[in-house]
């Protein structure tokens, strides 16, 4: 075996991340000691990342179907019917660990990877979003990570020319050593031009396109051994560098090829590159595959089979073509100045056979590789209840609380971030970041609009994973609804700690249960997603601390007539109505954290029937043309939501005093769910009456006008004052050295 100076045995297998039991399974499948390359293939295919061994059992419980779902989980991305013969194709994926090691490249290649998952199915990518969680603003590396991640996402997305239209950001010390970078891409394709990854046609050529293969990111986790092959491996970089220019060419070339009938199957090379793409394509198609690594375009001399099979070089795709169409394909890729190589053929052997320099470096039966992949039902602990809420008192009053909250890291203006993302390229962005609860992108040459959002409130998920999971789904649904769009489906990115710890596994399962319940109640199925486990930070004492459970939800909705969508900017006049019931829930609220310095209490209750009723009412009012602006009430409660509308619209309002006997801080900053603010013309009586008929709680909250937010006390906060507080955080954070 070339390159292999290490003997393959159980100890090497463990270094590669396999357990003794899993290695035993490899031996019984192979009937012999595997070669190094074979061991590499097993270890990546059976890694948590590729096999979902800890999560699979639970992912299966999520609802994944609806009449409008064309392809659910199992393909590169989810596909839903948006009408007019068109489909939206979307998915979210994490690049957490790489973004901690090298924030710019980690985030950039995360964007590149998720784009490929979407255009590999035949869609032109039309929007990117990103869900980010950073450590405490004052923690040592936070500033550098924020800077690199934001530059990386912009650097890649701006260059490929896909607008970045939305996302979310949280700061919490639990992410100090493990930031989360979850990137989502949405594309649009014709329903009759969707490409899948199942290989077919014995004898058909297997074709490699895109960039050359280098030693990028090989087996990062398992490769601590420089003694492996002294000269070739000594300087092994594990960080992948993205090339968005090549990605742009790859998008154009693939879409051009997809307009012909040359492609039988296509798959991006993502994690575990050539290995996972070839194994998955062949496995799904029930065929064998022969690969000739000598034909693989290589960036560096002297690469071994092992290295080529495990390289995670970016901007590469694998395709099965109709043999008589390979010349058409070659011409297209040459036009776009990309590598194009026939590197194998489909066989009837049911094996993957890898040849290099005249030797067979791997020969593995595909069925057992897939069927005997480990699946674990990991033990779960009893979930612990959150700390009791404790005594509530208000030391500073509404006005001071409001000013403090609008400037707090989790609520401060994100303009510093989105001003580095090209949000208008493509000319279809109807609502840019900050313009509405969900970004709105028109589908080119139609009146259709897509409403896009990402949501998760990790502090709720930590207090109560089930409620948190449900809340994340409900908030995504609400954000889409608040624009007037019909929510269709979600993608998810389940970020958790080490699943081998029973308390983490318990969080994971409970969060999925909550998500599933909300998805079912709201008719909002999961069509794609990603799981990222082992997100923990080693402490100096050797213990590892897990991130907050963070099941990020990416939601997609559709508007038949995009011109009916509304944003959240306060109009110049009219009445502000509050929809939904206010109970004053302060547990886990931002007010509690920022004013009393506590993260205590239960997460807010998620009443899915109320969500549906209130949301359906709001959407019908928007579509009827009765609503000038709409904003959901989320982090920070009513008063923050009002302030956000005021700042976005540069138009003030005078708040009515609530009739409830509630404590003012509970009323104004409580985080009860299923609520919206609607700006309507005149006195709002017609809308209020309609709400009453629909059984939806409603009250007049404010009269709109002026250039200040007037509090019930009569205290007046000008738009300018609010903005100053709201916009200070990011520039100040980033100016610090």
């Amino acid at each position: 075996m070339s390159g292999a100076v290490r003997e393959v045995n159980e100890s090497l297998a463990r270094e590669f991340g396999l357990t003794a039991e899993e290695y035993g399974r490899v031996l019984s499948i192979m009937g012999r000691t595997p070669s190094l390359t074979e061991l590499g293939v097993f270890s990546v295919m059976w890694s948590e990342h590729c096999s979902y061994k800890s999560s699979r059992k639970w992912l299966r419980t999520l609802p994944t179907t609806a009449p409008w779902v064309i392809h659910g989980p199992g393909e590169n991305a989810g596909v839903v019917d948006i009408g007019q013969g068109l489909a939206a194709i979307f998915k979210m994926e994490s690049h957490n660990h790489p973004s901690f090691i090298e924030p710019y490249q980690g985030a950039a290649t995360g964007v590149g990877g998720i784009l490929r998952d979407v255009f590999t199915m035949g869609a032109r990518p039309v929007a990117n979003l990103n869900a980010l969680r950073f450590g405490h603003p004052l923690s040592p590396r936070t500033r550098e990570i924020v800077d690199g991640v934001v530059r990386g996402i912009g650097g890649y997305g701006n260059c490929v020319g896909v607008p970045t239209v939305g996302g979310e950001v949280n700061f919490h010390p639990a992410y100090d050593g493990n930031p989360l970078v979850n990137a989502m891409t949405v594309g649009v394709a014709r329903q009759d031009r969707i490409f899948l990854s199942a290989a077919a046609g014995i004898g058909n050529p297997v074709v490699y396109v895109g960039s050359k293969t280098g030693r990028d990111g090989i087996h990062g986790a398992t490769m601590s051994s420089a003694e492996f092959d002294e000269h070739a491996l000594s300087k092994r970089p594990t960080v992948q560098v993205g090339d968005p220019f090549v990605e742009k060419l790859l998008i154009e070339a693939c879409l051009e090829l997809m307009a012909t009938d040359a492609i039988v199957a296509i798959q991006d090379m993502g994690a575990a590159g050539l290995t996972s793409s070839s194994v998955e394509m062949a496995g799904k198609g029930g065929v064998g595959i022969d690969l000739d690594l000598d034909a693989v375009p290589q960036r560096e001399p002297g690469m071994t089979a092992y290295e080529m099979m495990l390289s995670e070089s970016q901007e590469r795709m694998l395709m099965v073509l109709k043999p008589e169409r390979t010349d058409v394909a070659r011409a297209i890729f040459e036009k776009w100045e990309l590598d194009f190589a026939i590197i194998g053929t489909l066989t009837d052997t049911g094996h993957i056979v890898v040849r290099h320099k005249g030797q067979v470096e791997a020969d593995i039966p595909l069925d057992p590789l897939a069927d005997q992949a480990p699946v674990y039902d990991r033990p779960r602990a009893e979930l612990t209840a959150p700390q009791p809420l404790g005594e509530i008192y208000d030391p500073i009053g509404l006005e001071e609380s409001l000013l403090r909250l609008v400037g707090t890291p989790d609520l401060a203006s994100r303009a510093w971030i989105w001003n580095q993302y090209d949000s208008t390229v493509g000319g279809q962005t109807v609502k840019r970041p900050g313009g509405a609860d969900a970004a709105i992108v028109r589908v080119e040459d139609t009146q259709l609009g897509l409403a896009l959002t990402t949501d998760c409130t990790p502090r709720y998920c930590y207090a109560s994973p089930a409620r948190g999971g449900a809340q994340a789904v409900a908030e995504a649904w609400r954000n889409i609804t608040a624009t007037g769009a019909q929510p269709l489906a979600v993608t998810d990115n389940l970020n958790f700690g080490n699943p081998e710890k029973p308390e983490i596994m318990a969080q994971f399962v409970a969060a999925i249960e909550g998500m599933g319940e909300a998805c079912r109640a709201l008719d909002f199925p999961v069509v794609s997603g990603n799981v990222s486990l082992y997100n923990e930070t080693k402490q100096p004492d050797g213990n590892a601390i897990a991130i907050l459970p963070t099941p990020a939800i990416g939601g997609l909705g559709v508007l038949e007539d995009v011109s009916r969508s509304v944003g959240l900017a306060m109009p110049q006049s009219g009445t502000l109505l509050l929809i939904g019931e206010t109970k004053g829930h302060l547990g886990q609220s931002i007010w509690l954290r920022e004013v009393l310095g506590r993260e205590t209490g239960e997460a807010p209750e998620v009443d899915l029937a109320a969500e549906k009723r209130n949301g359906d009412f709001v959407r019908s009012q928007i579509l009827a043309g009765n609503v000038a602006a709409c904003h959901d009430v989320a982090d920070g409660g009513i008063l923050i939501a009002v302030a956000e509308m005021v700042m976005a619209g540069s138009s003030g309002c005078r708040l009515d005093v609530p009739e409830s006997g509630m404590r003012p801080e509970a009323y104004w900053f409580g985080e009860d769910q299923a609520r919206y603010l609607l700006a309507v013309e005149g006195d709002g009586a017609a809308c209020a009456e309609a709400a009453g008929k629909a059984g939806v709680p409603v009250r007049v909250l404010a009269s709109i006008g002026g250039d200040s937010l007037v509090l019930p006390s009569g205290a007046t906060l000008s738009v300018a004052r609010l903005r100053t507080e709201n916009e200070a955080f990011f520039p100040k954070l980033m100016a610090r050295q």
Partner: protein, 80 residues
């Protein structure tokens, strides 16, 4: 004194810039061009008496700010 810190990508790390420049030079007819790598040179005027000390400080600057050691190497020269 002048410090000259050269920062280049580590061997094996993809250099999209170099690749694109090589490509462009070929299409301009510079067919003799093979591999192309792009690096950055940061020239700093520094005050202080002693070369060895300046070089040491240059290394500290590189490690602290100028180079991204995850993907880049650096070298320091002192002149004048």
């Amino acid at each position: 004194m002048k410090l000259r810190v050269t920062v280049s990508l580590r061997e094996g790390v993809l250099d999209p810039q170099g690749k694109a420049i090589g490509h462009a030079l070929h299409s301009l007819g510079f067919s003799e061009v093979g591999n192309v790598r792009v690096s950055k040179v940061i020239e700093l005027d520094v005050s202080g008496p002693d070369r060895a000390k300046a070089e040491q400080r240059g290394r500290e600057m590189a490690e602290a700010l100028l180079a991204n050691l995850v993907i880049e190497d650096y070298s320091v020269e002192v002149s004048e």
